[in-house]
């Protein structure tokens, strides 16, 4: 696994990262956890906690805030 994952997909809307600036998505992500895996576009299992969150992609594993 590479040290820095490729951001192929927008982790908020699930569209191709290169399809636009995704400025609204970036702004919204300040108050939202990611929903899509940025590497494969799979919807992730996301658990929001009072402090922090975790998101699991079945292919690429877990990320946490």
């Amino acid at each position: 696994m590479p040290a820095v994952a490729a951001q192929t997909w927008c982790d908020r809307c699930g569209e191709a990262a290169a399809s636009g600036a995704h400025e609204q998505c970036a702004a919204a992500r300040a108050l939202e956890p990611p929903r899509y895996c940025a590497r494969c576009r799979r919807r992730m299992k996301v658990q929001v906690l009072p402090i922090g969150w975790s998101a699991i992609c079945v292919e690429h594993g877990e990320i946490r805030s």
Binding site: L31, E32, R35, K45, G52
Partner: protein, 331 residues
């Protein structure tokens, strides 16, 4: 000074009697030039009948997503194309969340599940979870699990759940526009059972669902009739994939007017900032609401979205000289 504010000063501030539906509507229709005076009066009412303390709460989703209901604002409905996937929280993580919440100074921890009503699996998870929290964390446990049977109400009481949240969400006349898979009356029935059980009733809703100002006033009056211990006030945060995903957010001044109006309808209730305040009001508006009738906050994150850091809210309360309510030993 508008006549309605003079009336409210006498009736609500001095005598503790909330405004009726017509009075709330008059407040909601006040022009912007009177907003400051309205918030000031609502703040005086809150200080007179509730005091300066602020109740702080954290919430966590025990079961996220996959809900069979069609609440049009909710990203957790399994009927919409929302990106939220179904997930369950395990007991150790639940206890950890309760510890994190208690560490902020919060006295309330509400366990929430996206369900029509609890099934056996969820009730078992609640039994184990509440017991584990009570064994390790000094915090009061509340629950929000949808519509209940009498047996489930009794079981939650036995577990030691002291408050139950079940939002009516909006007024009776507008509810069918927001939810079609169950009725406003079914929700009211659960609230009736909760009240009779001795658990504290927590019931509020969401503003900005497309309701009219008149329906907002109707909602305040219906909540006042219910007389809940706590009213969480949410502002719609439009969620992608939901039927209300493209609705505009509530304008800040309208949100503040609503906060003041709901306080003037319910002078003694715990009126809590819940979801959506970050996008509707921002930092300045959050402060204005706390000086306009709000006397409780959800700190930290929500169920599927994030809130501002708990430390920011606690710092603001300190600046406003509003002490965080201490853990009650009366329950």
């Amino acid at each position: 000074m508008p006549e309605i504010l003079d009336q409210a000063r006498d009736q609500v501030l001095h005598n503790g009697v909330g405004l009726d539906e017509a009075g709330v509507l008059a407040v909601l229709n006040l022009p912007d030039e009177h907003l400051s005076a309205t918030l000031q009066l609502a703040h005086e009412v809150r200080m007179r009948w509730c005091g300066p303390e602020v109740e702080v709460e954290g919430i966590v989703s025990l079961k996220t997503g996959g809900c069979p209901e069609d609440c049009h604002f909710c990203s957790q409905s399994g009927l919409f194309t929302s990106p939220v996937r179904s997930v369950w929280l395990d007991i150790p993580s639940l206890v950890q969340a309760a510890k994190q919440t208690a560490a902020t100074g919060a006295t309330e921890f509400c366990i929430v599940a996206a369900v029509r009503g609890p099934d056996d699996r969820l009730m078992k998870q609640m039994r184990e979870g509440v017991a584990a929290i009570k064994a390790e964390v000094d915090i009061q446990v509340a629950a929000s699990l949808g519509m209940l049977t009498q047996e489930q109400v009794d079981e939650l009481v036995d577990m030691g759940v002291h408050r139950y949240n079940h939002n009516l969400e909006t007024c009776r006349s507008y509810f069918p526009n927001v939810v079609t898979t169950h009725s406003w009356e079914e929700r009211w029935e659960t609230l009736r059972m909760v009240r009779e059980s001795g658990m504290e009733v927590c019931c509020g809703g969401i503003l900005g669902l497309g309701e009219t100002v008149e329906q907002r006033a109707e909602f305040a009056a219906q909540l006042a009739e219910l007389d809940p211990h706590e009213v969480p006030l949410n502002f719609l945060n439009p969620r992608p994939g939901t039927p209300l995903g493209d609705r505009p957010v509530v304008e800040g001044r309208d949100a503040l007017r609503a906060i003041a109006a709901f306080r003037l309808a319910m002078p003694r209730t715990i009126l809590r900032y819940a979801g959506g305040r970050e996008i509707t009001l921002g930092d300045l508006g959050t402060r204005d609401g706390l000086l306009g009738g709000i006397n409780a906050v959800i700190v930290g994150n929500y169920l599927t979205t994030l809130g501002r850091p708990a430390t920011d809210d606690l710092k603001l309360l300190d600046e406003l000289k509003m002490p965080v309510k201490a853990l009650s030993a009366t329950l």
